[in-house]
C-alpha cells in the first residue's frame, strides 16, 4: 500500500543497491511488509495461483517452442516428436495443455470471488478493469495456442472463430483476411498465431504488473467488505499470506498433477489427435471447455434483429458478454461490498454461477432441437443479471448490519463462546 516504507536495508550489497535502485525496497514493501486483511479466506489465494500458472505456462511454453515447428506441413508431427522423442517432452506438453485449463479454472474462481465480495467497487474499478483485460488476453492466447498442434479441432476451431469477424459489415472481411493471412486458415495463419501466442503472455505479464500495482495502492478487499481501518485489521504479507498462498498453490498443483499424470487427455478432444484436414469437417466442432459458455451465447442468436443478422447478433452478444464486465463497477448500485451482507444478491449470485454452468453445458451440445432456445434463455438471464438485477437490487435490497471493522467481525466469530477479552489480548500484528 502507499505510505512510507519501513524497509531498513541490511549492510553491504543491499544498502548499496537500495541507494541506487530501490528494488529490494520495492519487493520488501510489496511482498513482505505489505499489510493484508487478517480475515482473508482461501478464495483470496487464487491471485497467487494465477501468477504461478502464468509462470508455468511461460516456462513450459518457451521450452516447447524450442522443439515446435510452426509450419502447417510439419506442425502436427513436430508436436508428436515432442511427445515421443524429446526428453520429458510428454510432460512439458501435457503440463502446457492442461496448464491452460487450470489457468482458466483459477481465473474463473478469481473472477467469481471478485463478484461475490464486490472487489470491483470503488476504489478498485481500475484494478477490476485491468483484470478483465487480462482475461481477454488470456482468451486470445488460449485460442491461438489451441491452433498450434494443427489437429482437426485446431483447424476447424480456428476456421469457425475467425469467421466471426466476417460478421461485421465493411470492416469484417478485411479484418478476417488480415487475421488469417489469406482467405482460409492455412500456413500463414499458423505462423502469425504462433508469433502472437508467444507475444501475448508477456503482454499478460505486463498487465499483471499493473494489476498488482493497482491492488497494492487500494489494498485488498476482504470477506466483510469493510475497509481496513487500523493496523489491527491487517497482518503482514509475509509470513501470513505467503504461507497461506503457498499452501493453496501446492494443493492446486496436486490437482493439476493428477490431471497431467493420470488424465492428460481428459480435457482435450480426441479429434485433435487427427491431423488438420481442410477437406474433412468434424461432425461436431466444439471449443475448449473454458470457452463453452461464450460459444453457447454466440449460437443463441438464431434470428435477425432488424438490420443485424443472426450471425452478427451472435458475435455482438458474445463480445458483449465480456464488455459488460467493464461497466460492472457502475452497474452495481449497492453500497455494500460483500455479498455476505446482501441476502438477496447472494441468491442472484448463485443463480448467475448456475447460469454460466448451464451455458457451458449448452455450448457442448449441437445447435439443434431445444438447445438454441435454452441458450437464448441463459443468455438473456446473463445480461439481465448485469443490466437489470444489479442496478435494481442495490436500490431495493435491505442489507444486513455491517460490522464496525474487520477486527470486530473476526473477534465476534472467533470469540463466539464469549471471551472477547482473551481474544483481544491475543498477540496482535505488527503490520
Amino acid at each position: 500500500m502507499s505510505g512510507h516504507s519501513s524497509y531498513v536495508p541490511s549492510k553491504g550489497v543491499m544498502q548499496w543497491l537500495d541507494a541506487r535502485l530501490p528494488l529490494p525496497r520495492l519487493f520488501y514493501d510489496s511482498f513482505v511488509a505489505y499489510p493484508v486483511p487478517r480475515n482473508l479466506n482461501y478464495a483470496y489465494t487464487f491471485g497467487g495461483i494465477l501468477a504461478l500458472f502464468l509462470g508455468v505456462q511461460i516456462l513450459t511454453g518457451i521450452v516447447l517452442a524450442m522443439h515446435y515447428a510452426a509450419n502447417s506441413a510439419i506442425a502436427f508431427d513436430s508436436v508428436e516428436k515432442i511427445m515421443r522423442d524429446v526428453n520429458w517432452g510428454w510432460l512439458l506438453r501435457y503440463m502446457h495443455a492442461n496448464g491452460a485449463s487450470f489457468f482458466f479454472i483459477a481465473v474463473y474462481v478469481h473472477i467469481f470471488r471478485g463478484l461475490y465480495y464486490g472487489s470491483y467497487k470503488a476504489p478498485r474499478e481500475v484494478l477490476w478493469i485491468l483484470g478483465v483485460i487480462i482475461f481477454l488476453l488470456m482468451m486470445a492466447t488460449a485460442f491461438m495456442g489451441y491452433v498450434l498442434p494443427w489437429g482437426q479441432m485446431s483447424f476447424w476451431g480456428a476456421t469457425v472463430i475467425t469467421n466471426f469477424f466476417t460478421a461485421f459489415p465493411l470492416i469484417g472481411d478485411p479484418i478476417h483476411q488480415l487475421l488469417l493471412g489469406g482467405f482460409a486458415v492455412d500456413n500463414a495463419t499458423l505462423n502469425r498465431f504462433f508469433s502472437l501466442h508467444y507475444l501475448l503472455p508477456f503482454m499478460i505479464a505486463g498487465v499483471v504488473i499493473l494489476h498488482v500495482w493497482a491492488l497494492h495502492v487500494t489494498g485488498q478487499t476482504n470477506p466483510t467488505g469493510v475497509e481496513v481501518k487500523s493496523s489491527k485489521d491487517t497482518v503482514p504479507f509475509t509470513p501470513h499470506a505467503t504461507i497461506k498462498d503457498g499452501f493453496a498453490m501446492v494443493v492446486f498443483l496436486a490437482l493439476f498433477a493428477y490431471m497431467v499424470f493420470y488424465l492428460p487427455n481428459y480435457l482435450g478432444h480426441p479429434d485433435n489427435y487427427v491431423e488438420a484436414n481442410p477437406l474433412k469437417t468434424p461432425s461436431h466442432i466444439v471449443p475448449e471447455w473454458y470457452f463453452l459458455p461464450f460459444y453457447a451465447m454466440l449460437r443463441a442468436i438464431t434470428f435477425n434483429i432488424g438490420p443485424i443478422d443472426s450471425k452478427l447478433g451472435g458475435v455482438l452478444v458474445m463480445f458483449g458478454s465480456i464488455l459488460v464486465l467493464f461497466f460492472l463497477p457502475w452497474l452495481d448500485t449497492s453500497r455494500i461490498r460483500s455479498t455476505a451482507f446482501r441476502p438477496m444478491y447472494k441468491i442472484f449470485f448463485w443463480i448467475l454461477v448456475a447460469d454460466c454452468v448451464f451455458l457451458g453445458w449448452l455450448g457442448s451440445k449441437p445447435p439443434e432441437g431445444v438447445y438454441p432456445a435454452l441458450a437464448l434463455a441463459g443468455t438473456i438471464y446473463y445480461f439481465g443479471h448485469f443490466l437489470i438485477v444489479l442496478p435494481v437490487l442495490g436500490l431495493v435490497e435491505t442489507p444486513k448490519r455491517l460490522p464496525g471493522s474487520i477486527t470486530e467481525a473476526v473477534l465476534a466469530r472467533n470469540g463466539g463462546g464469549g471471551t472477547p477479552a482473551g481474544a483481544a489480548a491475543a498477540p496482535d500484528t505488527k503490520g
Binding site: 510428454w90 488424465l263 469437417t281 443472426s310 439443434e368 432441437g369 472467533n414
Partner: protein, 309 residues
C-alpha cells in the same frame, strides 16, 4: 429428446448462423462419401444434404475392458504388446500405416537390439537420393519408421472404396465414444482414459450383427454395418480379421476377441509410448505434493496460531 423434435431440429438447422453451417453437418455421412466429397465446400455440402435427423453414434456403447495399463499403476503387458505387433504386422499393416513409430521404439516391447535390427531388416525402405541422384531401396534399420502401405492418402483412398485407412500411430487417442453425463464425472475418479482401446476392441468385434430396418436404409452401399462405429451406422472397412488368422506362440487364444484386445493394447502403446513412465512419475510427484502440502498446512497453522482470522 432429439427424436421427439425432428421438426424443431430442422427449424434450428435452418436458422443456424451461416458460420456454423459446417457444425450441423450430419454424421450420417460415412467417411467414404466424405472422402469422395474432397474439394467441395463443406457449407455447400451441408446445404445439399439438408437432412433433419441426427441419430446418435455410436449406436452401441463400447464395453469397458480391463486393461493392464489402466489406473494409477498401469503398466504394459509386454506379451500382449508383442502379440499386438504380430497382428498389426500380419493383418492391419496391409492397409494401415504407423508412420510415427520407429523400429527402434520396439525395444520398449521387450525385444533386444538384435531382434529389432532383424525385424527392421524384414522391411524394404526407400532411401536416397544417392550420389547419382537416384532413389534406391534398402533393408530397414532401427532408426527407420514403419513404412506406410500406400504412397499417399489419395492412393490409399482409391484402393479402399474411397476411404483412406487411418494411420495407426495415434488412433488409440484419436477415437473414443462420447462419455455422457454423469459418466464423464466419474471418469475423473476412475482415471478412465481407455476410451480408445475400448472403442477399437468393440469395433473389431462388432461386425456381423443385424441392423434394424430403419438403420439398414441409411447404410451406404459398399460399407459394413457396425453399431460401434462412432460416426455412422456402417464403415468402409470390412471385418478385418477372423478366428485363427494369426498364430500365437504363447498359447493365447487365437480368437477375434483376443486379437482385437492385443492390437488395441499395442495401438495404445503406439499412441502413448511414455504412458507407464508418466504414471510412475505421477505417483512420486503426487506423494511429494501431498506431503509438501501437509507440511505447509502445519506451518500455516503455526504462523496464524496467535492471530484470530
Amino acid at each position: 429428446m432429439k427424436k421427439l423434435l425432428p421438426a424443431l431440429l430442422a427449424a434450428g438447422l435452418a436458422f443456424a448462423p451461416a458460420a456454423f453451417a459446417q457444425d450441423g453437418k450430419g454424421p450420417n455421412e460415412n467417411s467414404a462419401s466424405e472422402q469422395a466429397a474432397a474439394g467441395q465446400d463443406p457449407a455447400a455440402e451441408e446445404a445439399e444434404e439438408g437432412h433433419a435427423e441426427t441419430p446418435h453414434y455410436p449406436l452401441k456403447e463400447p464395453e469397458e475392458l480391463d486393461w493392464s495399463f489402466a489406473g494409477p499403476f498401469g503398466h504394459w503387458d509386454l506379451a500382449q504388446l508383442q502379440r499386438g505387433l504380430k497382428v498389426y504386422k500380419e493383418v492391419c499393416s496391409a492397409c494401415h500405416g504407423m508412420k510415427l513409430v520407429a523400429f527402434r521404439n520396439l525395444e520398449a516391447l521387450g525385444y533386444s537390439e538384435e531382434q529389432v535390427k532383424a525385424f527392421a531388416a524384414e522391411y524394404t525402405v526407400q532411401d536416397g537420393p544417392n550420389g547419382d541422384g537416384e532413389m534406391f531401396d534398402r533393408p530397414g534399420i532401427p532408426s527407420d519408421y514403419f513404412p506406410s502401405p500406400f504412397p499417399n492418402p489419395q492412393a490409399a483412398a482409391a484402393a479402399n472404396n474411397g476411404a483412406a485407412p487411418p494411420d495407426f500411430s495415434l488412433l488409440a487417442k484419436a477415437r473414443a465414444a462420447e462419455r455422457g453425463f454423469p459418466t464423464f464425472l466419474f471418469d475423473l475418479l476412475t482415471q478412465y482414459q481407455q476410451g480408445g482401446p475400448d472403442y477399437i476392441h468393440a469395433l473389431i468385434t462388432g461386425y456381423g450383427q443385424e441392423p434394424s430396418p430403419a438403420v439398414e436404409k441409411s447404410i451406404q452401399p459398399g460399407t459394413y454395418y457396425n453399431p460401434y462405429f462412432m460416426s455412422a451406422p456402417a464403415l468402409a472397412m470390412p471385418p478385418p480379421i477372423s478366428d485363427g488368422q494369426v498364430e500365437y506362440a504363447d498359447g493365447a487364444p487365437q480368437t477375434v476377441d483376443q486379437y482385437s484386445r492385443d492390437v488395441a493394447a499395442f495401438m495404445m502403446w503406439a499412441a502413448e509410448p511414455h504412458l507407464v513412465e508418466r504414471k510412475a512419475t505421477g505417483f512420486v510427484t503426487m506423494i511429494f505434493l501431498i506431503v509438501f502440502a501437509g507440511l505447509l498446512y502445519v506451518v500455516k497453522g503455526r504462523v496464524w496460531a496467535g492471530t484470530p482470522h
